[in-house]
């Protein structure tokens, strides 16, 4: 696309981020009396800390990338769904299922050589994630049960399932606290910095692949067509049901990969009550990235930076981490309220071309696609 068009596409997200930072600043100033005395400068110091915590040093940069990795993958999981007119809120569940599968298999093969152990553990993660993503796809395709509701429900089911596994069958012998055994050799090697693990590459590779598939192949054409008009897709000899199921399965696969990456690349085992923000952050990433792989890469890095920098923000400015959630929500708000943003800045930015985001809720009450 032309540079001009790129600028017009970007303007809304960028402005949304800007406005969110403003709102965040106001919130901080108003609440600063509760932190350590009224301090109009608080937002500045907080954001400064946020930035240097994210980009201030090589280590910080690595941390940003590492934090961005699962977000980018989860963002793709949601974004690809959008392209097919599906809203996958199940990232959290798919992430957890992928993580527990990787932890289980990783532990089982922990003594085998890395060349064997790592692929096996990863495979377990993606397969489990894909399978878990396939369920809502199947339900949607054959019963019309809307994926938003089913994925929300499946998130909670996943939490219980993982709880059962970690405190039961997978519990490490001898551990005083319920956790899965160490994944040993299945742990991902650290490639750069102190914790820049192999998993980072997955995200880096996944983005161009996703882009190519979506925009340069017949598969992507089918996905986008199903998203834009399931009826036309069916008429054209495509199989919307299949496409939906595959799209959600691929989404699950990506989220599962993210989960596996976190376990194998960072913690090395799965403790009981293992929790993650990735599921919902993924939605923000996908929306902010306009459901476009490139956009998702950028917004993933942005949110990764926020997560990475938030620590320094707490340490140096004493601002509670919840501010990050607020910022995210407000960014989303201004994206949704595009109208408002346009008014504030009197601009005519390009609308999202095929308005995927609109198609999502429209299908809420829809019947079984054929």
């Amino acid at each position: 696309m032309t540079l001009k068009r790129a600028v017009r596409l970007l303007s809304i997200p960028v402005l949304a981020i800007f406005l969110a930072l403003v709102v965040g600043a106001v919130l901080m100033i108003l609440s600063s009396p509760l932190i350590n005395g009224l301090d109009p400068g608080l937002p500045l110091s907080a954001y400064a800390a946020l930035v240097s915590g994210a980009f201030g040093s090589p280590d910080a940069l690595v941390q940003t990338v590492v934090s961005a990795t699962p977000l980018i993958l989860a963002g793709l999981a949601v974004g690809i769904g959008f392209k097919a007119g599906l809203f996958n809120i199940g990232g959290q569940g798919q992430f957890l299922v992928g993580a527990v599968a990787a932890a289980a298999v990783g532990a089982a093969v922990s003594t085998a050589g890395g060349v064997v152990a790592i692929p096996l553990a990863l495979l377990a993660g993606v397969v489990a994630g894909a399978a878990y993503g396939f369920i809502p796809g199947f339900l949607k395709a054959y019963t019309g049960a809307h994926e938003v509701v089913t994925t929300i429900m499946l998130n909670y089911v996943a939490i219980q399932m993982v709880g059962y596994l970690i405190t039961g069958p997978l519990r490490a012998q001898g551990a005083t606290f319920a956790r899965s055994p160490s994944v040993g050799n299945a742990a991902l090697p650290v490639l750069f910095g102190s914790n820049g693990h192999l998993g980072v590459l997955f995200a880096v590779i996944a983005v161009p692949i996703a882009w190519w598939l979506l925009f340069r192949t017949t598969i992507g054409f089918e996905v986008r067509t199903v998203g834009a008009s399931p009826d036309a897709a069916r008429y054209a000899g495509m199989r919307p049901r299949l496409v939906m199921m595959l799209t959600l399965a691929v989404g699950g696969l990506l989220a599962g990969l993210a989960g596996a990456g976190e376990i194998l690349g960072i913690s090395g085992y799965m403790p009981a009550g293992y929790s993650t923000n990735v599921g919902f952050d993924g939605i923000t990433v996908a929306l902010l990235g306009r459901a476009n792989p490139i956009g998702i890469l950028l917004s993933g890095l942005l949110l990764g930076a926020m997560r990475a920098g938030s620590n320094l923000m707490q340490i140096q400015a004493g601002v509670p981490v919840q501010v990050i959630d607020v910022l995210q929500g407000v960014i989303l708000f201004f994206l949704a309220a595009e109208l408002l943003v346009r008014r504030i800045f009197r601009i005519r930015a390009a609308r999202v071309q095929v308005d995927e985001l609109q198609t999502v809720t429209r299908s809420y009450s829809s019947q079984t696609p054929k």
Binding site: I159, G163, F177, A178, S194, G273, R307
Partner: protein, 358 residues
């Protein structure tokens, strides 16, 4: 998630402010477990401890990083390491693994792990087989793992419960069995009660099977759980809670049922005034003191690595005052308590018998 339970903001939180600026340059940072600094729970009281310790040694006020997801432990510890902090306090056994790694990687930094038994291989790595062959003190001299003997305060609570119960039927509600601290409190409680009344009936119930929000952050759920328990066992007349904020709901249920309640971790008569009217006492685990002491040891260079057992001998645990219930505690009950304490001190009493601790 949380080991102990509901606690006091007032209690130890008042930190003497060092007016004459920092006389000591040690930078102290604290990483919480998943939860918040105001969890009226072990995050909060370790934080109070860090603040107190810093004040006592005249160091600048400590900084904190709140963990929002257990995936972030390592990252959060690292951000203090990157900021060249001198003392890093990590709260909760769940962080043990990552704290051990960090301690190994950064010998120059002092680590204090709350509720973390140091368990390492001969190489000083986290031990995947949990054999704990390696000697923490030698291999990781910069890592103090503070481990409370929760069974002891639990045992004392049991003595009280067993003694004041008229029906001989008492209960305890814990967050989840899989958290050792919780299980130990519960075991000690049962054993203590059995000591004073061999045929006492003790209901030990756990709200959840994993350390999740239901176990430690759901007062409504906790209250309901307790109410259902009391509906089923109408003659239960003492209720002990070991379930964090979920437990605060348990205390409410006890009050509504007009039975005696026993708080946990800190003096809940102060920390949960709403329920003070039925809290006889609390099984205390003096987190604040423990953490600030550990910090003092570091600044006085008297700190030793490895697991630091905290029990009655170091006055790290005990029973909170009885307040309005003083009259309930007859001299004879008081002597039982004193004997138990003596026994625990000299080791003649094992709070983990007959019921095993984890």
């Amino acid at each position: 998630q949380g080991g102990g339970a509901g606690n006091s903001t007032s209690g130890s939180s008042s930190t003497p402010s060092t007016s004459a600026g920092p006389s000591n340059s040690l930078k102290i940072g604290l990483v919480t477990d998943v939860g918040t600094l105001d969890d009226k729970n072990f995050n909060q009281f370790s934080w109070e401890g860090a603040k107190k310790g810093a004040a006592d040694i005249g160091a600048p006020a400590p900084k904190s990083v709140v963990t929002t997801a257990s995936a972030d432990y390592a990252k959060n510890i690292k951000s203090f390491v990157d900021q060249k902090f001198d003392i890093i306090v990590t709260v909760g056994f769940a962080l043990g693994n990552d704290t051990t790694k960090a301690a190994k990687a950064n010998p120059g930094i002092k680590f204090i792990g709350v509720d973390q038994g140091v368990c390492v291989t001969e190489q000083g790595e986290p031990d995947p087989s949990f054999g704990c062959k390696g000697d923490g003190a030698k291999l990781l001299p910069n890592y103090q793992g503070l481990v409370f003997k929760e069974a002891q305060p639990g045992y004392l609570a049991g003595i009280v419960a067993g003694s004041i119960s008229k029906s001989g039927h008492i209960a305890a509600i814990g967050g989840t069995k899989v958290v050792p601290a919780v299980a130990n409190y519960m075991a000690g409680y049962a054993n203590g009660a059995a000591k004073v009344n061999p045929n006492v009936k003790v209901e030990l119930q756990y709200v959840s099977d994993q350390p999740d929000a239901k176990a430690f952050n759901d007062p409504a759920g906790g209250k309901a759980f307790a109410e259902q328990l009391l509906a089923k066992n109408k003659d239960v007349d003492v209720l002990f809670q070991v379930a964090g904020k979920t437990g605060n709901g348990v205390l409410q249920a006890a009050c509504n049922a007009n039975i005696h309640a026993i708080g946990v971790d800190v003096d809940q008569h102060l920390s949960t005034p709403e329920s003070a009217k039925c809290i006889v006492t609390s099984a205390e685990k003096k987190l604040t003191k423990a953490v600030s002491d550990a910090i003092k040891r570091v600044s006085e260079k008297t700190d030793k690595g490895g697991t630091v057992p905290l029990d009655i001998t170091t006055d790290s645990i005990g029973l909170a005052p009885f307040y309005d219930f003083q009259n309930l505690i007859t001299p004879e009950i008081q002597t039982r308590i004193d004997d138990a304490m003596k026994g625990l001190k000299d080791g003649s009493v094992d709070p983990c018998k007959p019921m095993k601790c984890s």
